[in-house]
């Protein structure tokens, strides 16, 4: 893996992150309403106290000053302070992160496993009943709202069968239903792209050559095709990670789990914009990092991709 490629991707990621953070900053700046007033007016503060709070929050400084301060703070991991609670946003997010992260990771594992299975099954015999069934399950995963499948899962496995807890967090048992529900939703996108990729790969010359050499079909599939299809599956997982992060928010609400979801919804209802901005910027950070890691891993696995537009392909 060339240093040039790594350097280029790092620079790209940094640029996208900077642009995303800037958009988030500008969006909050452009929103009308004075946070200091909103915070203190209810408690009957005088206009002097409100002005003092404004200065405290740094809202009187000119736009460029606020922007530079915002960027510098970001590089140090400071996401500002909540307008509602006055606490540091970064701390609030870190506190709520572990349950959400656990859910997202568990759901990824479930989703990848299901998605790979469904996708490969569908691609092995395209346009037959097997393909139709597997693809339908995948499309269902994409279409069923996680908030409903979550409720169905609670109803069946918790209320009726009593196998698993309906709400709360803390143990692995509490994680099973939410992770399964969210993972199922995730598996749909994975399955579709894995299927498309495996169908493509099956048509490539090296596969025909392997068959011509007389290798049994099953071995050809499981060894050669799967290995070639695994690399793009990584990229798919990375690209769909956004769904996981958003889906975790909703799933937490259904299963009454603590986490970033609750934090975000409360912040939105109270228009606590620094918290909302902090959550989305963190979401963007995670997404960019995951995609960067996937691209680098993908390039390491498949040398043809490192070339880029300006080099010829040497196999």
């Amino acid at each position: 893996m060339t240093a040039r490629y790594v350097g280029r991707r790092l620079l790209q990621s940094a640029f996208v992150l900077w642009l995303a953070a800037t958009l988030a900053f500008v969006a909050v700046q452009l929103t009308p309403g004075d946070p200091a007033q909103a915070l203190l007016a209810a408690s009957g503060a005088t206009s002097d106290e409100i002005a003092e709070r404004r200065a405290q929050l740094g809202l009187d400084d000119p736009f460029p000053v606020q922007y530079v301060r915002y960027l510098l703070d970001l590089t140090q991991g400071d996401l500002g302070r909540s307008w509602l609670h006055g606490r540091k946003v970064a701390r609030m997010i870190l506190e709520q992160l572990p349950p959400t992260a656990a859910l997202a990771l568990a759901a990824t594992v479930v989703g990848v496993f299901m998605g790979l299975s469904l996708g490969v099954l569908a691609a092995l015999r395209p346009s037959t009943w097997l393909d139709t069934v597997a693809t339908t399950v995948a499309v269902l995963g994409l279409s069923v709202p996680t908030y409903w499948s979550g409720m169905l899962a609670i109803f069946l496995f918790s209320l009726r069968l009593g196998w698993l807890p309906a709400t709360g967090e803390g143990t692995l048992r509490h994680l099973i239903l939410p992770a399964a529900v969210l993972g199922f939703g995730f598996s749909g996108s994975v399955a579709r792209l894995v299927r498309a990729r495996v169908v493509e790969v099956m048509e490539e010359p090296f596969v025909l050559a392997a068959r011509a050499r007389g290798l049994p079909s099953r071995r050809v599939v499981f060894v050669h095709v799967l290995r070639a299809a695994l690399a793009p599956a990584l990229t798919v997982v990375a690209l769909q990670f956004g769904f996981l992060l958003g889906g975790a928010v909703v799933t937490e609400s259904v299963f009454a789990r603590r986490g970033l979801g609750k934090l975000a919804v409360e912040a939105i209802l109270w228009r606590d914009l620094p918290v909302v901005r902090g959550v989305v910027v963190c979401g963007a950070l995670v997404y960019v990092l995951v995609n960067l890691a996937a691209d680098l891993a993908h390039a390491w696995l498949d040398p043809r991709l490192r070339a880029g537009a300006d080099a010829d392909v040497r196999l």
């Binding site: 395209p126 709202p145 908030y147 409720m151 209320l159 958003g246 939105i268 909302v276 989305v280």
Partner: protein, 277 residues
């Protein structure tokens, strides 16, 4: 036997699943549109004596905690859910299509700049971006629709730009430019008609996404006022008495799922049928 070749292109009418899906969408649309005639007593007529009755005894789909008929609420709620979805899709295509087409047709620094902007927006997870826009606009029905449309417009822009780029690479565009066509004329007379197929297909898939996520925001309580029978909001209400009245959430969940599924299937079908060759 493993099939080693690829399947041929199929027009929409030869795809039974897509036809069924389209019929469902029409059915749901009609149901919502005809709600005043089909459920003239409205969706909010409460009768606590008949609260939480299962399907059969209290109306065809049962009643909820306040005695409101679930079927009537489904029909009227369709107006909310589908209406918000339509508005969101309009925002999505209205913003994403021109952005992507202009970027793909003009190329050069315009394309580079616009696509960097799109990349930055796509870095934010979709639902979270929609939630952030709702925070900026203030919670409510219109905010949710606009937010969901805005959140998915970058994806549409990307698809529109790829489609435009493909058309731009065709020889007849070179010919048009050689004859002296302005970029605008090229866009309107060459790019748009030839890119239309995949763009329409993707719009159908986007409809599924906006319905799903719009209802999600309503489920979380960020959209419609309490009591409005939007399908996502109905799910949130029904969650409270899942043990004693599962039908209250089952039917909106089922109808929403089928509608999103139908949109996805139609989108897939259109993609299959309108694939450029």
């Amino acid at each position: 036997m493993i099939q080693w070749g690829s399947a041929p292109r199929r027009p929409l009418v030869r795809q039974p699943a897509a036809v069924l899906a389209l019929l469902w969408l029409v059915l749901v649309g009609l149901g919502a549109g005809l709600a005043p005639s089909l459920a003239p007593h409205g969706a909010v007529a409460a009768d606590t004596d008949r609260g939480l009755q299962p399907p059969g005894m209290g109306g065809p789909l049962g009643t909820d905690l306040l005695g409101r008929d679930v079927l009537a609420r489904l029909l009227w709620g369709g107006r909310w859910t589908l209406g918000m979805g339509a508005l969101a899709l309009a925002v999505d295509v209205g913003l994403g299509l021109p952005l992507g087409l202009v970027a793909g047709t003009l190329g050069g620094w315009v394309e580079a700049a616009l696509m960097r902007l799109v990349d930055a927006l796509l870095a934010f997870p979709g639902l979270l971006l929609a939630m952030a826009v709702v925070a900026l606009l203030g919670a409510g029905t219109g905010s949710v629709a606009v937010a969901v449309g805005l959140a998915t417009a970058p994806a549409y822009a990307r698809v529109a730009r790829s489609a435009a780029r493909e058309v731009r690479a065709q020889p007849y565009v070179d010919a048009a430019r050689a004859v002296g066509c302005t970029p605008w004329r090229i866009l309107v007379r060459h790019v748009l008609p030839n890119a239309a197929g995949p763009l329409v297909a993707f719009a159908a898939t986007q409809l599924g996404w906006v319905l799903l996520n719009g209802a999600a925001l309503n489920f979380l309580g960020l959209g419609v006022r309490p009591g409005i029978p939007e399908w996502g909001a109905m799910l949130a209400e029904g969650r409270a008495y899942l043990r004693d009245g599962p039908w209250v959430s089952t039917f909106p969940g089922l109808v929403l799922t089928l509608t999103v599924l139908a949109a996805n299937v139609v989108g897939d079908g259109l993609q299959e049928a309108l694939r450029p060759h």
